[in-house]
Amino acid sequence: MRVPADRDPRLSGLLGPDGPELSCDECFDALDRYVELELSRSEADKQIPGMRAHLHGCPACHEDHESLLALLASER
């Protein structure tokens, strides 16, 4: 049976992302490049594999990402 864990944010958070993901340190290291790639629509996920999965799994890194994205967007 295949169950839809993403139906509820709690279940999704418990089980986390599937597949390979970056660590928190690797995420921080690549965050600036990733966000600039996102803003230039340059296939950020293809160029930095594992970043999207980590942002899905780590609430703190997710917040850092959202903030950097918002700050750069505010300067455009």
């Binding site: 992302p17 780590c58 850092d64």
Partner: protein, 221 residues
């Protein structure tokens, strides 16, 4: 005087603005102090931005306390940026690279301030209670079976430390930085524990024939 840091970043492949930042911050001349002041202004802007974004979480805090948080964050970020200047590879603009240090410092400080004085409760050994914490109805058979399987795996397959970290972060909404501070460890170390715990849960579910539908599959149903 410029601090010692890793091997100097070569400015030749950088965009013009980034190259100027690096040259000024690596100079020995009188321009160094001015560059550090300019960098602090840049970091303070990012820290204020982050504190402002998180102001609702900070509750009734005074504006002067918000400013104190931003100043402390900018000060700490300045030290981090100067210490790691040699790590800047030019994968992004220098300002983007520097911003992330200020946002990280401010984000951590805000989360810790919100939890200041609050008790971090870890789950008891006999813990079970995923169903009570779900945010959507869960009375269908397949979700019920999934919850039962997860609760069994949390009790039987995880170490007590893995259970504490998993429940605290994913069900009790304790920020990972706050938990790291209370447990005297780092965000990265705790996330590794969380990652391993999730891997055990997924393996336990797979062993019972409970495959997890991928995010994209759910989105394209």
């Amino acid at each position: 005087m410029p601090p010692t840091h890793n091997s100097p970043t070569h400015a030749s492949h950088l965009d013009a603005e980034s190259a100027t930042w690096i040259e000024r911050l690596q100079s020995d001349g009188p321009g160094y102090e001015a560059a550090v002041k300019d960098l602090h202004v840049l970091l303070l802007k990012a820290a204020r931005f982050e504190v402002h974004r998180r102001r609702s979480a900070l509750g009734e805090m005074r504006d002067s306390d918000h400013e104190d948080l931003a100043q402390q964050s900018a000060d700490d970020a300045l030290m981090a940026v100067l210490r790691k200047l040699g790590d800047f590879r030019g994968d992004s603009r220098f300002t983007t690279w520097a911003y992330k240090f200020a946002l990280l410092e401010a984000g951590v400080k805000v989360r810790r301030r919100v939890w200041q004085g609050r008790e971090v409760q870890l789950p008891p050994e006999s813990w079970s209670g995923i169903a009570d914490r779900l945010q959507t109805p869960h009375d269908d058979a397949e979700t019920r079976e999934l919850i039962d399987a997860i609760e069994q795996a949390v009790r039987n397959d995880l170490t007590s430390h893995q259970r504490d970290v998993l429940v605290a972060i994913t069900l009790n909404d304790i920020p990972i930085d706050v938990l790291a501070e209370r447990l005297r460890t780092t965000r990265g170390a705790l996330y590794k524990t969380l990652h391993d715990a999730r891997g055990k849960l997924r393996a336990a579910l797979a062993a019972r024939g409970l495959g997890i539908r991928r995010h994209e599959e759910v989105g394209t149903r």
